[in-house]
């Protein structure tokens, strides 16, 4: 009697379906879960004289509702979204730092020049002089503290890069592990896809994508992963961990490096250019450092350099209370020259800033090709100067005459203003040393040096005070205050751009997510309907057995 078998087949399939619906309901909130369904087909038919009699239903497998295209689109948009969000978190901090113009550098600049005006108006007033020194110190400390904030952020970025790379490596290990599990599962049950393992792996790859932008290639149920412009980090059965190390060009910044086999059984680590990683948290961090942090810190350094050089230049022409010629008012460290890793040359070039007004906010990479030096702007990439001896460009002078025995490939990174803000200080501590007075020709002979005018003279203080509105930066385009306003504007614009991009990206992610969910997501109402439907099926199938039993009983009762 086949009716009972039919009932049994129906029951089994209904049970499978109920189980799968239950699995769906259970995992409706599981990240990365793809809705599953039971694939069934008829169990065929038996030929009889009366025709082909069906043998019932057969469950042939469980499949997940998965669309690779939609999934890839979603993870890619999430990768970009993660980069934007990280960038936004970072620049948001600078943006907040600059939020209130009534605190910080703006009022300090104003107070400093206000103090200069007070000295110019009453040059012999020692209280005004003392106050000017106080205000100058306050300005220097505001500039230093803004820079310290940026430095802290830089080290914060370094820490995050390190942590993120560790996370990336951990994900790579887990993905590799799943690759293996999937292979094993395929071997155990050939022909049946291990859907839940696939889901887990896809989810891990998606989460990896939030850390760094990766390219994924699937091959024989394994995924291979590359980063940057094709560096393999997971290939075959091997994981090549990313690493973090101080950049060769600038040891103060951590760079991501990857490992390649060196042919002798070991691996060598190669630095990955920052610009190759643009997605995920790592991409956000690197982009922020390159695009925002470096330039803002250079801008701030340029402001400090412009301030110190412009004030010092005028101050040196003045005479203090005792008639002694003025020295430097502000102290400032010179440009930073970073020696390239593995340089052969015996010494480093001497770099001086000759004109703060011509200074840009770029760094410079010097390279030696065996015959002459080439100076390239970083990150613009344009050549600033080339030759030997002394090169002058952008208000900077580089003297190579002290460099002994350079070899082809030697290089230096010049950061003219990066550390300037950190080193800004006030060089004088005695109010009497403020050189407010101008010089006078005491003997009518222009050839002999001038002597200082009396202490009631404020000619130089007037000139110093006039620097507040003099365009001392950017080739005569900006006053100090305007330079600061430009920094605020730059950070504001970068933040605003990021916010806009982030909003657009979030919308895109949401769209991609809903498209992906439309295919793969669990709808509880649907499952509820399915449950009812499968329950019906189960009831009907059991009814078959009941009928079969009744039929059997009927037949048996014929004998009695």
């Amino acid at each position: 009697m086949n009716l009972a078998n039919l009932g049994k087949a129906g029951l089994l399939v209904a049970q499978n379906r109920l189980q799968t619906a239950g699995h769906n309901i259970n995992n409706s909130d599981t990240e990365g879960y793809n809705r599953q369904s039971v694939l069934s087909q008829t169990a065929g038919a038996t030929a009889t004289a009366g025709g082909w009699i069906g043998r019932g239903v057969l469950a042939v497998g469980v499949q997940r509702a998965y669309d690779n295209f939609l999934y890839t689109q979603l993870t890619q948009s999430q990768t970009k979204g993660a980069a934007l969000a990280t960038y936004g978190d970072q620049i948001g901090q600078i943006n907040n730092l600059l939020a209130d113009r009534t605190v910080g550098i703006t009022p300090a600049i104003q107070a400093f020049f206000d103090g200069l005006q007070a000295v110019a108006t009453a040059p012999a007033d020692s209280a005004a002089r003392q106050e000017l020194l106080g205000r100058a110190n306050s300005l220097a400390s505001q500039v230093r503290s803004a820079n310290a904030f940026l430095d802290e952020q830089r080290s914060n970025v370094n820490t995050q890069i390190r942590t993120t790379v560790t996370q990336v490596n951990s994900y790579l290990d887990r993905i590799q592990d799943l690759n293996r599990q999937i292979s094993t599962a395929k071997a155990v049950s050939p022909g049946q896809p291990p859907n839940d393992l696939f889901d887990q792996r896809d989810q891990l790859v998606a989460e990896l994508g939030q850390l760094v932008d990766v390219n994924v290639f699937e091959q024989d149920d394994r995924v291979n992963i590359t980063v940057g412009n094709g560096q393999v980090v997971l290939g075959g059965d091997s994981v090549f961990h990313l690493d973090v190390r101080p950049s060769a060009a600038d040891p103060s910044r951590l760079a991501v490096s990857y490992a390649i086999p060196d042919g002798a059984g070991g691996v060598t680590s190669v630095e990955l250019k920052d610009s190759l990683i643009t997605g995920g948290k790592l991409g956000g961090l690197l982009t922020f450092r390159r695009e925002a942090l470096d330039t803002v810190q250079n801008d701030l350094g340029r402001l400090a350099t412009g301030l110190a050089m412009a004030i010092n230049q005028v101050h040196r022409q003045g005479y203090d209370l005792t008639g002694v010629q003025g020295g430097d008012f502000f102290s400032l460290a010179g440009p930073k020259v970073i020696r390239g890793e593995g340089n052969v040359a015996g010494a480093d070039p001497a770099v001086t800033i000759t004109d703060a007004n011509q200074l840009g906010t770029q760094d410079y990479q010097v390279s030696y090709d065996g015959a002459s030096y080439t100076v390239t702007r970083v990150p613009a990439g344009t050549v600033a100067a080339a030759g030997n001896g002394t090169l002058s460009f952008d208000g900077i002078q580089v003297d190579f005459s002290g460099v002994t025995a350079p070899a082809s490939g030697d290089g230096w990174l010049i950061q003219p203003t990066r550390d300037a803000a950190a080193s800004l200080g006030v060089a004088i501590s005695d109010p009497g040393r403020i050189a407010a007075a101008g010089g006078v020709d005491h003997d009518g002979d222009p050839a002999t040096p001038e002597v200082g005018a009396g202490p009631a003279n404020g000619d130089i203080a007037l000139k110093l005070a006039a620097l507040q509105t003099t365009k001392v930066l950017g080739n005569g385009a900006m006053s100090l205050n305007e330079a600061y306003a430009q920094i605020v504007n730059k950070v504001g614009v970068l933040t605003q751009q990021n916010t806009t991009a982030q909003k657009a990206q979030e919308t895109l992610i949401q769209q991609n997510y809903s498209a992906q969910q439309a295919v793969s997501g669990v709808n509880l109402n649907e499952e509820y309907m399915n449950l009812n439907q499968y329950q019906e099926q189960f009831r009907a199938a059991s009814r078959l057995i009941d009928v079969s039993s009744t039929l059997f009983d009927t037949l048996l009762s014929l004998r009695s």
């Binding site: 007075a437 504001g492 109402n525």
Partner: protein
Amino acid sequence: MRISTNLLFNTGLKTIGTQQADLMHLYQQIGSGQRMVTPADDPLAASQSINIAQSQSLNQRFAENRAVAQRSLATEEDALGSLTLLLQDVRTRVVEAGGGALSDADRGTLATALEGARAAMLAIANTTDGNGQYVFSGSKGQTPAYTDAGVYVGDGLQRDIQADQTRRIAGSDVGSDVFQRAQPGALGYSSRQVVQGSGSTAVLSAPMVADSTQGNADSRLGFKITFTSPTTYDIEITDYVPPPPATAPTVDTLTDQVFTPGSTVLSLTRSDGGTPPSPVDTGTQVQISGDPAAGDEFTVTPLQHDQGFNLFATLDNLIAALKAPASTDASAQAGLRNTLNTAMQQLASGYDNVLTVRASIGARMNELSAMDDVGTQRKLGYAKDLQRLEDLDYYEATMKLNLRKMALEGASLAFQTIQSLSLFNMGGK
């Protein structure tokens, strides 16, 4: 399209999150009264407001500078007001001294009074301001402008004060411009008897340019007349503004000019530059009375070019002359008369000069007041600009707040409604 339950919750959360973020921003705006919570809200306005704030603080600073200038000019004006009264008094005394009926003792009394006036004038010249700085000593504020001997030891540097973006105003005047200068543009002369010849009764007074067509309309020529005998004199002519290419004053001499005893007017001549030089009339005359004697030496100097002009020296000469006995001797009388004439001429010019300096102080104070008015106007303008850039429009913000509140409530309600529509919640069996 299948709406997954996950998506439903996710979307609900995102919507409510977005609305809440907007509300938060509005709260921050309303709480701070600032339109821009961070520069990212309006980068351009953020940088503009920094620049305007600087202009505002500069404007404020210039107002303070002007207040300092006003104070220091007021101090100077006070001092010069006293000086004006003092010089008026001195001039009265000099006129009194010229009255012929005075005895030596009377003149001694006058001399004593003038000594007091001189001391007062020295005190005025060495006035200090609130900081203890000497007002009239140029840049050398720590040293008195004049020594007891009446010598200026300050310098010629003005104390400029930045009163406005482009205007520097001198907050004081240097002492040499007050006490050692004839009033600017003066065309007058002062005559002085340098040496009195033995027994001379000649009195020189009131030099003037009688004929301005003779090349001395601008009082550029100075003269030194030396009598070699009662009827002859040598004359030395100094051209203080010689025609180019000469750059320094040039000096010519004419010797053995004839003086007719008894004449009351001495016409001053210059040389024609020939060999031997012939006299050329300069249109300049000097009144002369009495009889000159050999050895008499007079100078007739344009006030503008008188390097030795010094009110202290004038008073010193006056006092010395008044102290010398002169009652009986006609020659001594003549010498006194000459000294009094010189003093009158110099005091008159010095007095005018002080008035000129005071007028310039008044003009500067007026200018400062005018700039104060402009400054106030600007202050309003800057405040308005900043308000426009930074301040929140409360009406607009309140409207937005209501709108956002409604939106958030709507989103929450919508989420609740949709979420409660689940079949599982409907008591399904």
